[in-house]
Symmetry: none
Subunit: 267 residues, 2 copies
DNA sequence: TCTAATGTTGCACGTTTTCGCCGAATTCAA
DNA sequence: TTGAATTCGGCGAAAACGTGCAACATTAGA
């Protein structure tokens, strides 16, 4: 309908918006978002840096105000591993899909990487996801309502569940507290689990991204059994043996960093 | 789309309407939309830009209206003045109140300053407010649902309005696009105005914080007349004369920086 | 009705900006 | 120190720009 291509100035404004939110940006990531070459992005960043609006660093740029610290530091080490998962999950996207993005830090990183040009619709209960997608012109954003649980990082409870019934998703990314071969996905919080179940119920496909330390744990609240999950995204260091435990006749397993056969997105 | 022949002025009005909706426009797109050459469109945009109605950039034009700017661009400039307003507004709070915090940068700054010890309940449609209050131990946070408008910085529309009906507020802080003695509060966006009206309807008291540059403007959508507002927070530089224009038999007027009785804020 | 003034349009032309790519230099991590 | 990723500068192509110009439409006034 509207913007598949961006005015150069508009693109720089958007980069600036991301930066002023305190998030560092990477050239490679921005190149995906705006579907231009990294060269163009680097030129943008150089230009912004020349005006003192950001600090150019190797690989991308940092916001000029020191407000970036808390977020980038906190994530720290896990961040790169989770980013690798998110990169892999990007290959699941198709144009004009309607996505559900659940709470969770990995989903928030995925939100950062969503390209603008796919005309995506995103429904979310995660506050960080909302903050990151709010001023993305290429993405229609919808929020669930209800009480905000700081522990989860977003909306949970009855109202969020009933809000979900308003939508039909092509693909739902569930935040995964834990994954276990026999019990599937489990969660800390009952209300949170309710939301995840509702999202899965209303979605054509269900995807989960799981870092290795979340494997094998069993938490109090059942979310979904393994055979209800369509896409599993693991880290590349996974033992192929333990990987096999999670294979069902329905799902497809991706591992981060691995360049699979059908990884070219775009259609 | 069928009446292909636009009068030149009609065309410029259409372009302006698109821009005032917050959408950037590209010369190429407009040329197709109105079936004229890009030259004609460029001339239109140049003309509009000369009148200050848009900002001409390479490839098209960007809206110039302040509320159409991405949220992050708006924040930061008049920050200290808005913080002073927020400090003053803090004196209106009482323990165990249920507040509504509308979208708007001033309300977001107020959220920053809300004390943890008052056992407040906060309902909001603003994404930045949610992000700032999410992990505040002493505050119960609730979010409205629905489509997220980047121009507004939060949720608007029918779903947000119906969500509001679930709550009863003691005090609602409305984001004020503009304030005028005879028309009261007015807004750029119709859906946004609906949400504000609903919030006021369900609140015991209504408060607005207004920076001086928002005074006297009249925007397309009526929100509330002056006599429906209980607390007005102005900047301290306000002329006491023009301040008198806003006095009603119902409201109470506060000015920021005023050495009032109970102003200890704590930051 | 005729005419002049004004505004608009599309096109041509030379200029400026942006883009993707390439190669050499630099930086980072192992 | 080696190797991979990143950066910078330059190049050519493509796109967008401003300007001038001639043709056409609209309007106002004689």
């Amino acid at each position: 309908m509207s913007s598949v291509s961006y005015l150069p100035e508009q693109r720089r404004t958007e980069i600036l918006a991301t930066l002023s939110r305190g998030e560092p940006v990477s050239a490679a990531e921005l190149a995906i978002r705006f579907s231009v070459s990294e060269d163009a992005i680097r030129r943008d960043l150089r230009k912004l840096a020349a005006e003192g609006l950001c600090e150019k660093v190797y690989g991308g740029a940092l916001p000029v105000s020191p407000s970036a610290q808390p977020y980038s530091r906190r994530a720290g080490e896990d961040q790169s591993r989770k980013e690798a998962l998110a990169d892999t999950a990007l290959t699941l996207l198709k144009p004009r899909q309607c996505l559900f993005l659940d709470v969770g830090s990995t989903n928030a990183l995925l939100a950062n990487k969503l390209p603008n040009h796919l005309d995506l619709t995103v429904v979310t209960n995660s506050v960080p996801v909302m903050a990151r997608l709010m001023d993305r012109p290429g993405i229609s954003l919808f929020a669930l309502g209800g009480p905000v649980r700081s522990q989860a990082g977003g909306m949970t409870g009855a109202q969020a569940v009933s809000d979900i019934e308003r939508y039909r998703f092509d693909l739902a990314f569930l935040g995964t507290c834990s994954l276990c071969p026999d019990t599937g996905v489990t969660a800390f919080d009952g209300d949170d689990a309710e939301v995840k179940r509702a999202a899965a119920r209303n979605s054509e496909k269900v995807a989960v991204m799981v870092t290795s330390e979340k494997l094998g744990l069993r938490l109090p609240h059942q979310v979904l059994p393994l055979n209800r999950i369509d896409y599993l995204v693991f880290e590349k260091e996974m033992q192929s043996q333990s990987l096999h435990q999670y294979q069902t006749d329905r799902n497809r397993i991706l591992t981060s960093g691995a360049e699979r056969e059908d990884l070219e997105t775009e259609g």
